[in-house]
Symmetry: C2
Subunit: 200 residues, 2 copies
């Protein structure tokens, strides 16, 4: 269960919170919906855009307008990106301000994202993108036509340089603070889906 | 209510979804908890890390280990960053795969983040960081001591180059798809906080 980091930049600095087991990385990627995709712009400054994604085996797909901007920002078929996903599980309330924290599961993926040009792979990636958010939905809506396919850029990013970072459990206060008269513990956070409403 | 974009890189590409009114940008920043902070690493590749933040007037603060890594990545007191926040409000289910979407409110801030060296401003920023997640909590826990203050880096980022992007409402399907026999509409998403539990 304890794999080494795949590269220096994919090494989690905080001791004890970094994990490199592929099963855990996949699990977190499958549980979240939105990633934040970072790229370096032509002027050398960073840009971070939220976007949907889907995992297929040991890579992830992103699509659409963010992918287009990313590709335009690059001079090649591929572009260096950092794809980050985070699930917030709880607010950690400590006796001291310093030890306040959050419980979370995150994944950070570094690598080169390349454009998917094969039409069948592109169709499959778009199905996975719909099914990632709504399992089974790709079979219950109209599939993309040729014009829609052409209007959508899809990028594939391998998971070779990925890490997970996880915090769980109660606050860790200093011994001398434990008797301070402040409530401490964890406030759990959950995301709730409502019912489909036609009016939005 | 309709202000122009503050700069080319802070211009939202999608027509009709970009907003530059400071009140809306503040409102979204105050409603979210976690941002994704992007920076360019020494090797030229992008890095995106999730972290807490707090707004104070027309700038935001970030702190801690991510701030330290960002500062180390820079040779100066300041570093070019992109700070992105997103609130997911709903899943938009259309008749066609192509028009599936999400309802959300996001803010993207470009700019130079600089280290806060003034001790009083640093104390205040750390109070705001605690209070942003737990209103009033900074008065109900032990304040940082000198050692803790020294161990915490705080960065300040002005909101001068910020934009908001918002999608609301039902799916927008093509006319010829409206009679397809698939359920369509919006699945609302809400984040629910539970009760404080001592065991986490």
């Amino acid at each position: 269960m304890s794999q080494p980091p795949p590269s220096p930049r994919a090494t989690v600095r905080y001791k004890g919170r970094g994990h490199y087991d592929r099963a855990l990385i996949h699990e977190i990627l499958d549980a979240a919906d939105v990633c934040h995709l970072g790229v370096v712009q032509a002027d050398g400054s960073p840009m971070v855009l939220p976007t949907l994604y889907a995992r297929d085996g040991d890579h992830v797909y992103v699509h659409g307008s963010p992918a287009s901007r990313l590709l335009r920002a690059s001079k090649k078929d591929g572009v260096q990106v950092c794809l980050t996903v985070m699930l917030l599980d709880g607010y950690v309330m400590a006796k001291s301000a310093f030890h306040h924290s959050i419980n979370y599961r995150s994944v950070v993926v570094f690598g080169e994202a390349t454009e998917v040009r094969d039409v069948e792979e592109k169709r499959r990636a778009l199905e996975l993108l719909v099914d990632h958010v709504h399992p089974g939905r790709s079979a219950e809506c109209r599939a993309p036509n040729d014009k829609e396919l052409a209007a959508t850029a899809v990028l594939r990013l391998p998971l070779g340089e990925a890490s997970a970072k996880v915090r769980t459990g109660p606050p860790i206060d200093d011994d001398e603070d434990l008797d301070l008269p402040y409530p401490a513990g964890v406030i759990p956070v959950t995301v709730v889906r409502g019912e489909l409403s036609a009016t939005g």
